[in-house]
């Protein structure tokens, strides 16, 4: 084979450049009207503009606040509920049908309710974020508890370890990888719901700005904000994956994501 194989990160950079080049070329060549699709350079300039504006960062902060708060609340709730349900066979069986019923209900169904209850305040976003993230984490915690080795648990029981101690020494280490998977999934979902709530309902944040720029015809600004949202999403994904790896490096069994 002629030539050295391009190293992988290099190929990635090439990919990004190709994409940007395409984005620049298409509107400039008139394939799509520049009014609807401004060239990459215009959008990036606008993005840089935003970075210098305090209001932009205010919006980012708002979105991040909804995201972080909603995520935190849902994780705590899901862990507590998940461990409780998982620890008792009766509870597990009794709640199974209800969980299977409620879980596929799309979070957007709650939008009208959120508007009724909280109007356009941040609490609307929170409601949606918590609802959606909660299920992600809960399910993973339940999978984790299911995976607890009954032999280990029985051994602990026979040594007189009470319920709390067993949760700490037997259940928790098993559940942790699953929990991390749940947190990873929930982080992405939480961002989506936060932005969606802001966009559709108008609660404060980046999503609301995107809606405003769209209705105000500020096209390049809209694109710039969308790019910003994407970048935030990438940062969150990468960040969570790093945390996951750190938390689980000393864990002997780094599990792969449970299917379905």
């Amino acid at each position: 084979m002629s030539g050295k194989r391009l190293s992988e990160p290099l190929l990635g950079v090439v990919g990004i450049l190709l994409f940007l080049a395409g984005w620049e070329a298409v509107p400039r060549l008139g394939l799509v009207s520049a009014r609807f699709l401004p060239p990459a350079s215009t959008v990036l300039v606008q993005l840089v503009n935003y970075v210098g504006q305090a209001s932009f960062w205010g919006d980012v902060g708002q979105t991040m606040l909804s995201w972080a708060l909603g995520l935190a609340i849902s994780i705590v709730a899901a862990v507590v509920l998940g461990l409780t349900i998982g620890s008792s066979r009766f509870l597990g069986r009794a709640t199974h049908s209800t969980i299977e019923f409620l879980r596929p209900i799309p979070s957007v169904a709650l939008i009208p309710l959120a508007v009724l209850l909280f109007g356009i305040k941040m609490e609307s976003s929170l409601l949606l974020v918590i609802y959606a993230s909660f299920w992600q984490v809960l399910l993973q915690v339940l999978y984790g508890v299911q995976d607890v080795d009954p032999v280990a648990d029985n051994t602990a029981k026979s040594y007189g370890l009470g319920r709390i101690a067993r949760v700490r020494y037997v259940v928790w280490p098993t559940v942790l990888p699953y929990l991390m998977t749940g947190v990873r999934l929930a982080s992405a979902v939480a961002l989506i719901l936060a932005i969606t709530a802001e966009l559709v309902i108008g609660s404060p944040g980046l999503g609301k700005q995107i809606g405003l720029t769209q209705s105000g015809g500020a096209v390049a600004e809209m694109y710039a904000l969308i790019v910003a949202t994407g970048l935030i999403g990438v940062l969150i994904n990468v960040g969570v994956r790093m945390v996951e790896r750190r938390v689980l490096t000393w864990h002997p069994s780094v599990r792969s994501e449970t299917f379905a």
Partner: protein, 257 residues
């Protein structure tokens, strides 16, 4: 577990919750929460009517087209990207970026590019629902067992046959997990695409009710969404159970050992 016990567990908590709901709304009508009977009644009047034709069906049809396209495109692209290492390296950063964009945010963008019509709504669904299928397919294709791959090579199972007998079946558990997420995302996007400047559809109808403060009607709309979600989940589980029977059997064996 006997049948009686199983039924009891199944309807126990739901019945309890509904009873609680009924009790709590016994007094004068609450603005936010309708009484259970009133909700059932409203549900019937609102939805067992022309609405099925004008709002429900068009939405569902768009949903199915969007989901089907997402799954097919996701698998095809996923197989390509998963098979060719250079292609994966080339596209990875861009894909990572696009998948991080919250799909609803694309609605204003697509409205601009395509206009407010059926195509836009379907594209919105695809733009969000394709990601779990695509990414999971890539992972599934990459994770083909080395020994199985060697075995196939020694028996001359290459090219298309390899895809058909080795890669796709091997990746199917992963792909199915992606399809499951695809279904829920697709439903969400279907609703959202209709909340903006649309004039028909489920999302539009629910927002209409909410804006008009027709609360029981609004709840009935929410109930419809919930039922669609449950219905999709049901169908999915049926299909997955048949297609992945071998996989569940295999895992059960491994778990027992």
């Amino acid at each position: 577990m006997s049948l009686v016990k199983r039924v009891a567990y199944f309807i126990g908590l739901p019945v309890l919750l509904i009873a609680l709901w009924w009790l709590l709304t016994l007094g004068p009508t609450n603005f936010f929460v309708p009484k259970p009977l009133k909700l059932a009644e409203t549900f019937w009047t609102v939805w067992a009517s022309d609405r099925i034709r004008t709002d429900f069906l068009p939405s569902i049809i768009r949903l199915f087209i969007g989901l089907a396209a997402s799954i097919v495109l996701g698998v095809v692209l996923g197989v390509l990207i998963g098979t060719y290492r250079w292609l994966r390296s080339l596209t990875e950063p861009i894909l990572e970026f696009f998948r991080a964009i919250p799909p609803p945010v694309l609605v204003p963008l697509l409205m601009l590019l395509i206009g407010i019509n059926d195509q836009m709504k379907i594209v919105v669904i695809i733009a969000g629902a394709i990601w779990p299928v695509l990414l999971n397919t890539v992972e599934g294709v990459r994770a083909v067992d080395q020994v199985l791959s060697d075995t196939s090579a020694t028996y001359g199972i290459t090219g298309f046959a390899r895809l058909r007998y080795l890669v796709l079946p091997g990746a199917s558990p992963q792909i199915m997990a992606g399809v499951r997420q695809c279904l829920s995302i697709g439903l969400i996007l279907m609703v959202i695409s209709e909340m903006f400047g649309s004039s028909s559809g489920l999302g539009f109808t629910i927002v209409l009710f909410q804006r008009g403060f027709a609360i029981p009607e609004m709840w009935s709309g929410i109930a419809v969404l919930g039922l669609i979600g449950i219905g999709l989940s049901f169908v999915f589980r049926g299909v997955e159970g048949r297609a992945l029977g071998w996989y569940h059997g295999l895992r059960e064996m491994q778990r027992d050992s």
